[in-house]
């Protein structure tokens, strides 16, 4: 089994920033964008998100798998949320509104009448959802492609996480290739004994039980290895002093600028919403004119 990280150096603008500053920006962006349902504000965040995304220089060919997943989730949410259920859209869209098919419809042949509760306001809400989820996705989808897996431990330590948690993270990243190799070896060994993972016959329970000869040996073997690693670490007095890290992270002027921008984005968002009462769900006039209202 081949396990490869999505990261490679692309020399994009995004990579000029310290990973800690990038996390602060990403989280501030997430909290800021979720304050708003006004499409004008969401469009502003959408532009920032995609400017950030494109500064990574990641190609569509590399990221398309992630976008397909997001596209599927978006489709499900919008179709179910706005078109099928006709619910309250999380209490954002006020009840009532302008019906898209005010007259209802008739099913041919059987002649049954149906009434469809889809409104123009809910359709506008779907556009807002598209902007909001699209912006959040652009910010978070790009992280694996642009952040070196070797710096996750030190980054989270730098963000204030306990030493042991950060080290656990570092260790987990290093274990992945080893465990992937163990999994491959186990799969080959089981196949040599006549095990057929590709067989799709049988019900759900049979299929799950068929996975056990793969999961059990890999898990138990890694637990036994873990005992040896624990002993080795204890012998080296792990945890008696604060750790030092191989990679050293240093803030530069551009990182301070990004952190300041993140604070302004979040702080500005909070002030705009709570002090000026701007940014709640809003439907433009031209959209309602389409509805004939």
């Amino acid at each position: 089994m081949l396990v490869t990280w999505r990261y490679r150096l692309r020399n994009g603008l995004m990579e000029k920033f310290d990973p800690r500053a990038r996390w602060i920006f990403s989280l501030a962006f997430l909290f800021a964008v979720t304050l708003f349902w006004d499409a004008r504000f969401l469009a502003f965040f959408f532009i920032i998100a995609f400017a950030w995304y494109f500064s990574s220089r990641a190609k569509w060919k590399e990221t398309r798998r992630g976008w397909y997943l997001i596209g599927f989730i978006l489709f499900m949410m919008i179709v179910i949320n706005t078109i099928i259920t006709g619910g309250g859209a999380g209490g954002v869209v006020p009840p009532g509104g302008h019906l898209v098919w005010a007259q209802g419809g008739t099913i041919p042949l059987v002649g049954w009448q149906f009434h469809f509760g889809l409104t123009w306001e809910r359709l506008w809400f779907a556009i807002c959802q598209l902007l909001r989820i699209g912006a959040i996705s652009a910010i978070f989808l790009i992280i694996p492609y642009t952040m070196d897996p070797r710096v996750y431990g030190v980054t989270f330590r730098g963000l204030g996480l306990p030493d042991r948690f950060a080290y656990s993270m570092e260790l987990a990243f290093r274990y992945v290739p080893t465990l992937a190799r163990d999994f491959g070896t186990t799969l080959d060994a089981q196949r040599a004994r006549g095990y057929e993972i590709e067989r799709v016959k049988g019900g759900i329970i049979k299929q799950i039980v068929r996975i056990a000869p793969l999961i059990v040996p890999v898990t138990m073997n890694s637990i036994l290895t873990g005992e040896d690693v624990t002993n080795a670490m204890d012998l080296r007095c792990f945890g008696t002093r604060p750790r030092t890290w191989l990679q050293k992270l240093t803030f530069h002027w551009q990182d301070y600028a990004l952190i300041a921008f993140s604070i302004i984005l979040l702080g500005g968002g909070i002030i705009t919403l709570y002090a000026f009462h701007l940014g709640n769900f809003w439907v433009p006039e031209f959209w309602l004119r389409l509805a004939g209202g």
Binding site: P144, L171, L187, G203, I223
Partner: protein, 181 residues
């Protein structure tokens, strides 16, 4: 030596890392398996890993195995970061970890039943947190959250977890007995 629920010493650091890496690798390795007649439902037998690591090594190990394992799996698959779902996966490992101190043999009927009960609660709570967060992030309403997020997440997780957890617990009991650890 008495077990402590919330201890996070060297052993826990190592097993949290192993649990996370295992969860990530096994999730990716079994990605292609589909539920019969339900092609869109993600089928993840590896969900048993955070549950099992929680039951055996405690709540913090279980949490990190689920939380970090989901992050690493998404990193490798290229799906990005989805904190609320990572958090939900962490809770799936944390809740069974709450009974780790009461586990004695791992293969007795009582231990297995408690493991299953707490794993079920973990899935219901963890996926509940992750799904409800979609109301805040995506503006989905409750019916969407339940039918598009919650049910498709809990059903395969419960089926996989409840079948595979006893198998892993019995295998672990054999290892404990043989190695005297």
């Amino acid at each position: 030596m008495l077990k402590k629920s919330w201890k996070f010493g060297t052993r826990e650091v190592v097993y949290a890392a192993i649990g996370a890496a295992l969860y990530a690798v096994l999730s990716l390795a079994t990605n292609w398996i589909q539920l019969p007649s339900a092609g869109n439902v993600s089928f993840r037998p590896a969900i048993v890993i955070p549950m099992f690591f929680g039951v055996v090594f405690g709540p913090i190990v279980g949490f990190i195995a689920g939380f970090l394992g989901n992050i690493i799996s998404d990193l490798i698959a290229g799906y990005g970061f989805w904190f609320w779902w990572d958090l939900g996966n962490g809770v799936i490992g944390l809740v069974p970890g709450l009974i780790a101190v009461w586990m004695t043999t791992y293969n007795s009927f009582k231990d297995i039943v408690w493991g299953e009960v707490f794993s079920t609660i973990g899935v219901l709570v963890g996926m509940g947190i992750a799904s409800i967060s979609e109301m805040w992030v995506s503006g989905a309403d409750m019916s969407t959250v339940i039918f598009a997020n919650y049910l498709p997440a809990i059903i395969p997780d419960l089926i996989n977890g409840l079948i595979l957890l006893p198998i892993l617990m019995i295998a672990y009991a054999a290892i404990v007995k043989r190695s005297g650890r």
